[in-house]
Every structure is written in structure tokens, then in C-alpha cells.
């Protein structure tokens, strides 16, 4: 048996070490901050044509930010000891979010108030509220927003189908595991692949199997994308095919978590299948249902890929979405300032809309309970 003797550090010595580390920590973060600020100023001067140091891109500022972030984390540990170590668990995520989400959003806000067309001889110019005024007068934007209302409403249909499938897969049917995997397959496909496989191949007017079948069934002109409502419905169907499995898997998980005793008690009391669903399963599934619907709505508000690939927003804007319109404005017309205003404004709408839904759902569920 052996003993290891650790030399004891007196409280005074410990305090001295801590003070020294804290002082070094403060020095480190101050030095890193000065460096970051200095590089920022140099970059601004370079961009403004005041200096010519050869800083051809803003990459040096990125490196300075990374160095500053590392210094900040290290200084937290050095200054605050154990509390600083706990902070370091969260700090990298915060700094990353600031760099990748907060900064672009704020910078985007600045861009949104500029007249910036990539082909313009004058480059970027601040133009006040002109972009906002143009947005309010833009019939294409409001048309796309109206289409989004239809697309969002289609989520309720998707929910009903997904619930039905989840109930089916929750029962003791044959080949249940196979069907679970099979129903999940569309979710694993890229919407772009779905656009081509279904929208441009299966539903192709001349040779597509869906069009051929429709002709056999007596539809002379199976053009799925030539009239507004038919095209919109076809887009919704393709989107639903990809998205229903996502809702279904959430609902199935919820169903499997339900206590079986309640349903069994209801059965003993003589409740029919419909009564059992209406009075027990559906109410108990409300929290999961709301989560699934809200998540799907958030995804739905970003719908673009299928529309861009299959209809390009047509016929006559009938299938256009806000995202596909922004894509066109930015990509085809290089209209960065106005395109960014559209994106920022739509972000505000989404935030307000989702906040209202969450608030409404919360109140409704409280009332139900």
C-alpha cells in the first residue's frame, strides 16, 4: 500500500495564482479585442479605398474573429475559473450563431435598404424605404403570399392523411415493419429528385405513366400543370408525398407512447372505435399533433424547390411561392437589394405568424385540458 502526498497549496498562494490567471485572461481578451477592432478598421479603410494594403477579401477579419472567439473562451476560463469552464460549453455555439445567423440577418437588413443590382454601374447605394415601398406595390409578391396561404392550408390535409397512416401502422397489421419503412422512403428523397421523378417524368404530358393512365381513364388532356388550380394541386400533392412521412413518423411515435390502459378501459366500457378515437386518442395526441403541424407549416413556408423545377411558378404565377419569387428576383435579375428586402420582410411575417400559431395553440390546449 502506497500513499501519494500532494503538496498543499495555501489559500493565499491559490488566490495569488487565480489573480495572476485572471489578469492574464483580461489581458488576452483586451489584446484580442484590439486586434479584432484594428483589423476591422483596416478592412473598412481598404474597402473605402483609403489604404492599399492588399486586403483583397474580408478573410483577415474572419481570422481575427476566430482568434478573438478562442481568446474569449480561454479568458473566461482564466478569469472565472470553474464558472468560466461551464460558460465555454455554451460560448462556441453562441459565437457560431452570432457569426452565421445574427450577423447575416443584421447585415441583410442593411442590404435591404440599398439599391444594389449586380449589373449596375453605380454599385450599391442606400435608398431608404424605396425597396419597402416597391414591395408593397409588388403584385408578384402578394400573389406568391396568397399562394402560400393555400399551401399552408394544405398542411391540414397532409396531417389528416398522416394521422390515418400512423393509426394504420400502429395497429397489428401484417408486414407492419415493411410498411413503416416503405412509407418513410419519400422522406429520404430530395424534393429536387421528386420534382424530376414525379413532376417531369411520371406526370409528363406525352409519355408519363400518370398521364397515360389518366388517358385510359377517359381524361383526354391530362396536362397537370396548365391550369392554375390543377397545377397548384399537383404541386401540393408532390409536396405532400415528400412531407406526409415526416408527420406520420411524429404521430406514430406519439401513438406508441399513449398508455394502452385508457383505451382498454374505454373498450370495456363499450366505446366504439370512433368514440375511442374521438374522445381518447385524438385529445391525447393534441400536443404531438400541434408540434407536427407547426413544424410542417414552418417547412411549408420555405417551399421552393419543387415549384422552381416543375412549373417555374406558372402558369401565370399560380404556383409561385414567396421563396421561389425571391430566388428569381435575386438569381435571374441580380437584384440583391430588393431581393434581400423581400427575404427580410418574409422573415418578419413568418416570425409573427408562427408566434401567433404557437400562442393560439397554447391557449387552445389549455382550454382543452
Amino acid at each position: 500500500m502506497s500513499h501519494t502526498v500532494t503538496p498543499a497549496i495555501s489559500p493565499v498562494e491559490r488566490t495569488t495564482v487565480q489573480h495572476t490567471a485572471a489578469r492574464r485572461g483580461r489581458l488576452l481578451i483586451v489584446a484580442a479585442s484590439i486586434l479584432l477592432f484594428a483589423v476591422l478598421v483596416l478592412q473598412i479603410l481598404e474597402a473605402g479605398g483609403v489604404t492599399a494594403l492588399g486586403l483583397v477579401s474580408w478573410r483577415s477579419l474572419l481570422f481575427a474573429y476566430i482568434f478573438w472567439a478562442v481568446a474569449l473562451c480561454a479568458s473566461q476560463v482564466m478569469i472565472r475559473g470553474e464558472a468560466g469552464q461551464r460558460a465555454v460549453f455554451v460560448l462556441p455555439a453562441i459565437l457560431f450563431t452570432v457569426a452565421m445567423v445574427v450577423f447575416p440577418t443584421v447585415f441583410g437588413l442593411y442590404i435591404a435598404f440599398t439599391d444594389w443590382n449586380l449589373s449596375a454601374a453605380a454599385g450599391r447605394r442606400f435608398n431608404g424605404l424605396d425597396n419597402l415601398r416597391a414591395l408593397f406595390a409588388d403584385v408578384y409578391f402578394w400573389n406568391a403570399l396568397l399562394n402560400m396561404v393555400y399551401y399552408v392550408l394544405s398542411v391540414l390535409v397532409q396531417y389528416a392523411i398522416a394521422f390515418g397512416l400512423a393509426l394504420l401502422l400502429n395497429t397489428e397489421i401484417k408486414a407492419r415493419k415493411f410498411f413503416r419503412v416503405a412509407f418513410l422512403l419519400p422522406l429520404m428523397l430530395s424534393p429536387v429528385a421528386v420534382s424530376w421523378m414525379i413532376g417531369k417524368s411520371l406526370m409528363e404530358y406525352r409519355f408519363g405513366p400518370a398521364a397515360t393512365l389518366a388517358r385510359h381513364l377517359g381524361w383526354d388532356n391530362p396536362a397537370f400543370f396548365s391550369t392554375p388550380w390543377l397545377a397548384r394541386t399537383a404541386i401540393m400533392a408532390m409536396d405532400a408525398w415528400v412531407s406526409i412521412p415526416f408527420m406520420m413518423i411524429l404521430l406514430l411515435a406519439g401513438l406508441q407512447a399513449l398508455p394502452s390502459e385508457i383505451k382498454e378501459a374505454a373498450k370495456v366500457d363499450g366505446a366504439s372505435g370512433w368514440q375511442s378515437f374521438k374522445e381518447i386518442t385524438f385529445p391525447l395526441m393534441l400536443p404531438v399533433s400541434m408540434t407536427a403541424i407547426i413544424l410542417r407549416i414552418i417547412f411549408q413556408l420555405k417551399l421552393a424547390d419543387i415549384v422552381i423545377n416543375v412549373t417555374a411558378g406558372g402558369p401565370g404565377g399560380a404556383t409561385d411561392t414567396v421563396s421561389s419569387f425571391i430566388f428569381r428576383e435575386y438569381r435571374d435579375r441580380s437584384n440583391v437589394g430588393y431581393g434581400t428586402m423581400l427575404a427580410e420582410f418574409y422573415l418578419v411575417i413568418i416570425i409573427i405568424f408562427v408566434a401567433l400559431i404557437l400562442k393560439g395553440a397554447s391557449r387552445w390546449m389549455q382550454r382543452e385540458n
Binding site: S119, N221, S226, G313, G314, G317, D332
Partner: protein, 553 residues
């Protein structure tokens, strides 16, 4: 005497008797020319090479593959070998940005340049873009100063954006000599490819929309009888004017040809990243391009759009009127659909497109109509709108034709960023010159490549016939292009910055018009208003100056 040699002699105009009479002396010349190094040897080699490359893989032998592209690239490497030593560019890395439409363009360039890479030692990395992604990617690179490519496949309409901003490298004299620029068709010579008097472009393509039609439709006895029975004027035949195209399209509705549903003209109403506007343009030029006026899109004094004048509105109205008689889902057809999924696949009897349709008709596996295609320049119009008088005029010379020189062809441009490294600059220009070589041009025009004729030397019909093309077919195909290129009233596209922004916004408005949500006039007025805004945003004075320059005004 080889059969190919005989055909070549016939091609240059020698009669059979003359060939036989001079065979002895020719034999003597052939025997001595190797020692003397006579120019005739080089000519014979060139002619032989052109004949040989056209046999790769051979017309009617399926679509060419990567092995064929590499083989052709290797066979056309002699010009490079004269200016570059083997391994001279070892260690040089070049980046090439271009398209991959229909698996063509860059996909072929890779094959063509593989032997060049092996010989010179340079290596190329590729940035492939879909048609619709091309313009925004290029614009972003220009505006943000992030040009990350050394070679660029680009159309002349973008020269204002690229060459005007000093982003391109000026062509060295040795490249001009290697690619023989005098051989270019006239409309692709300066000012196209130049900016402020400097040359930047190695052409690899010439562009115009021609008129492709199905010969079986227009020789069908049943249709001819029905045409007369219904009281139409004139004989049943290929329409020469847009008025007739409209009449034929409506006439064919509900009829059959060879047991299949007959369809007339194929319009492309669906947006195509701005490129769809060219197809309205092809319908409009005969109405809007007056022989006494170079302008047809904008007024040359004010840059005021002409898109809402009676000529353009008439073209838009023509499409609205024709759509119900076209294929059932025509409203969802973009130009790619009309050419490759409809016309070449057997649907429709008339389509305006670039030369790709003719080049693919007999050499692409996906074409089923190769034996029944004919070609012409775009239809004309019985009358033409004169913007100066504000009236429609009937010309004494007959219908007004104004072939649409849509896009002015693709070229290869070297970016200015290579200028600071002489070795890299030479390598980049050598690669561009290889792609723009005279012999390679013959092959790219004869097979699916995304490119059509752009050199005078490509219009030698005998060469095409010796490659396996039917003489009548290829004569019509080449005539439709050369007659367009050389037409005195050709509608030349303006090379102004942001031209695709104008087209893109027009596509959005036109989609509404074709879907019945706006009248032709209201849609055209909306396009005009949007174009005015774009012009103001981009800088009216600068746009106007460049527009005038592009028209040679």
C-alpha cells in the same frame, strides 16, 4: 486513289474527266511533295483531317461519347503543337467555368481538352453550371470581385459586364493567328468579341434562331386536300410568314399525320431563366425590325422600350391565339421542352430554335424525326411596323424577314487574373485556342455539342456529305444558318449589361399573359414599365451609350 480523295476533288469542283486526265501529274506531285514540303501537303493533310474527324463516330452511328470527344480533341492538336512545346505548361492549374446543358458544352470541352492537358502538362478543374444558373453565378462573381475561374464560356451579350469592367485578358496575336479569325462569319467579327478596340473572344459558336419544320407534314396528301377543302388560300406547304404559321397551326388542330395527332407550331411560354424571351423575339422580329432601322428592342435616342409597340403586342397576341391549337400542356413548355422533348421526339411540326435541333436530328439517340426535318430562315411577315411613322407597311420587296441573331454565339474568354503569370496566361490562351480551332469547329457543328456554325469554312456542303449527311438535308440546314447570318435585316441582339434581367422580368409578365391573367397590351405595358425601371437602376446614360455602340450607331 482513295474514295475520300476522289470525293474531296469533286468537292473542290474537278470533274471526273479532269481528275482522270491529271491523275498522272497528281501522282508525280504527290510523290515529290513530301520531300519538297509543298503547301499542297498541308492542305491535303488538313482536308484529310477534316474528313477523318467527321467519321468520329459517324453520322447515324449514335451519340458521340467521351472517347469520341477525346479522340477528336487529340486529332485536332496539331495547331497547339506548333505553338507549345510538350510539357511546357507542367504544373499550371486552370479553372474553367461553363455550362453543362443537355450534357454538352463543358462535358465535351473536358474530352476535347484531355489530349491538350496530356500534351502540355497543364491541368484543368471544371465549374459546370445549368443554363438557368449561369447568369447569376457570373453576375455574382463580377459584382463581388470573386472571379474564381481562368477560362469562361460566355455569350457575347455579357461582354458589357465582363470586358467592359476589365475582367478579361486581351487576346495575344499568336492566338489570333492560330484560330484564323478571318474565317469567322461576318456578323461575328468585330465589334462582337471586342471592347474598346481590344479583342477578347475566341468564338466557338454562332447563333441565330432558324425555322425547323417537318417535311412529312407539308407533303402529306391528306392535309393538302383538307387545306383546299377548308378554303385556305394558296397551296399546302411550308409557311413562309408568321401569318401562315398561325393559319397552319390552327388548321392542324384535330387532324392526324401518320396516325398521330397533328400539332402545328410549338411556342415556349414557360420561363427559362430569361432565355425564353428569345422565342418571343423570334416571332416578333419580322414585325418589329424594319429594314430602315437597326433598333428593334429599344429606341436608340432614349432607351425607351419598344416591347409595347404594336409589333411586339401582335407577336404576343399570336402566341395567345396559337396556344389553344398547340399541344395540350404547351403552357408548361419551356424552350428545352419544345426542342428536345417535343419536336425531336415527334410532337409538333414547326419550331424556332438554335442550330442544335438540326445537329441533333440525325446524330442524337433521342431524335425520332431525323429523316423528316427541313430548315429555313425564320418566317417573315406580310407587313412590318415602322416606329418612325407609327404605321404598318407592306414592303415592295415582299414579306419582311428579320432573322433573330439570338445570343450571338458562345465564346471562350480568358480572365484578366491570369495576366500576372505569363506561363498561366499562355496556357489559358492555348486551351481557348484549341477549343476555338478551325477543324474542331467542323466537328462541333456536325454533332451534338450545343454549338452551331460560326466559320465560313463550315459551310462546305461536300464535307458534310462525305461525313454521311444527306445532301438535301444538310444543304437546307446550312442555308438556314448562312442566310440568317448574312441577312441584311438581321436582328442583332444588343450587348448591354444586365440584358438577361430585362428578359427575365419579361418572362414573368408573359407567363401571366399566356395564362390569361392579362391582355397582350397590358402585359407588354407592364414589361415596358419594368424595363424602364431596370434601365434607370443600371444607369440610363451608360446603357444607352452601350446600346448605341452595340448597334454600330
Amino acid at each position: 486513289m482513295k474514295v475520300s480523295d476522289f470525293e474531296r476533288m469533286m468537292a473542290i469542283g474537278l470533274s471526273r474527266r479532269a481528275i482522270l486526265k491529271t491523275s498522272a501529274s497528281l501522282g508525280a506531285v504527290a510523290a515529290t511533295s513530301g520531300m519538297l514540303g509543298l503547301p499542297g501537303t498541308a492542305f491535303a493533310q488538313d482536308a484529310s483531317l477534316r474528313s477523318q474527324i467527321l467519321q468520329v463516330p459517324g453520322v447515324g452511328k449514335g451519340s458521340p461519347t467521351d472517347a469520341d470527344w477525346q479522340k477528336v480533341g487529340g486529332m485536332c492538336l496539331e495547331a497547339t503543337k506548333k505553338s507549345v512545346k510538350q510539357g511546357e505548361f507542367a504544373g499550371v492549374q486552370l479553372s474553367f467555368m461553363g455550362l453543362n446543358n443537355q450534357n454538352l458544352h463543358n462535358v465535351l470541352f473536358r474530352g476535347f481538352l484531355k489530349p491538350w492537358e496530356d500534351y502540355t502538362g497543364a491541368r484543368i478543374t471544371w465549374i459546370d453550371l445549368a443554363q438557368a444558373d449561369y447568369s447569376p453565378r457570373l453576375q455574382q462573381a463580377i459584382a463581388t470581385g470573386t472571379v474564381d475561374f481562368d477560362l469562361l464560356e460566355m455569350g457575347a451579350p455579357f461582354e458589357g459586364d465582363v470586358c467592359g469592367k476589365g475582367l478579361a485578358s486581351e487576346m495575344p496575336d499568336w492566338v489570333k493567328a492560330q484560330i484564323d479569325m478571318d474565317d469567322y462569319v461576318d456578323y461575328l467579327k468585330a465589334p462582337v468579341g471586342t471592347w474598346d478596340g481590344k479583342t477578347y473572344r475566341v468564338s466557338v459558336d454562332g447563333d441565330c434562331h432558324n425555322f425547323n419544320y417537318r417535311t412529312d407534314y407539308f407533303t402529306d396528301a391528306g392535309l393538302a386536300k383538307a387545306w383546299k377543302d377548308e378554303g385556305h388560300q394558296g397551296e399546302w406547304g411550308v409557311p413562309k410568314t408568321w401569318q401562315k404559321v398561325q393559319e397552319v397551326t390552327k388548321f392542324l388542330k384535330g387532324k392526324t399525320v401518320g396516325g398521330m395527332e397533328a400539332v402545328g407550331y410549338l411556342d415556349a411560354p414557360k420561363a427559362w431563366g430569361g432565355f425564353g424571351f428569345y422565342f418571343l423575339g423570334s416571332r416578333a422580329t419580322a414585325y418589329a425590325k424594319h429594314p430602315n432601322d437597326k433598333a428593334w428592342l429599344f429606341d436608340t435616342d432614349t432607351m425607351k422600350p419598344r416591347i409595347n409597340n404594336p409589333a411586339w403586342v401582335r407577336a404576343i397576341q399570336d402566341i395567345i391565339d396559337a396556344l389553344p391549337s398547340e399541344a395540350g400542356d404547351q403552357l408548361n413548355a419551356d424552350p428545352g421542352t419544345t426542342a428536345f422533348q417535343q419536336f425531336l421526339a415527334g410532337t409538333g411540326s414547326m419550331v424556332s430554335w438554335w442550330g442544335d435541333v438540326g445537329a441533333s436530328a440525325r446524330t442524337s439517340d433521342s431524335s425520332v424525326v431525323g429523316e423528316t426535318i427541313g430548315f429555313d430562315i425564320l418566317p417573315g411577315s406580310d407587313d412590318v411596323y415602322n416606329t418612325k411613322t407609327g404605321k404598318w407597311e407592306k414592303l415592295a420587296s415582299g414579306p419582311n424577314h428579320a432573322p433573330n441573331m439570338a445570343y450571338l454565339g458562345w465564346g471562350v474568354y480568358v480572365m484578366a487574373r491570369v495576366d500576372r503569370d505569363e506561363k498561366k496566361k499562355r496556357a489559358a490562351w492555348s486551351a481557348a485556342a484549341h477549343l476555338g480551332g478551325k477543324d474542331l469547329a467542323l466537328w462541333t457543328a456536325a454533332y451534338p455539342s450545343g454549338f452551331q456554325c460560326y466559320r465560313k469554312s463550315q459551310f462546305n456542303i461536300k464535307e458534310w456529305v462525305s461525313a454521311g449527311y444527306d445532301e438535301a438535308f444538310i444543304s437546307g440546314y446550312l442555308a438556314s444558318q448562312s442566310n440568317s447570318y448574312n441577312h441584311p435585316n438581321a436582328a442583332i441582339e444588343p450587348r448591354i449589361p444586365g440584358i438577361f434581367q430585362y428578359y427575365s422580368v419579361a418572362e414573368d409578365e408573359l407567363a401571366k399573359v399566356f395564362a390569361g391573367r392579362a391582355t397582350a397590351q397590358a402585359g407588354a405595358d407592364a414589361i415596358a414599365a419594368a424595363w424602364e425601371k431596370i434601365t434607370d437602376q443600371l444607369g440610363r446614360d451608360k446603357q444607352l451609350a452601350l446600346y448605341k455602340a452595340s448597334l454600330g450607331a
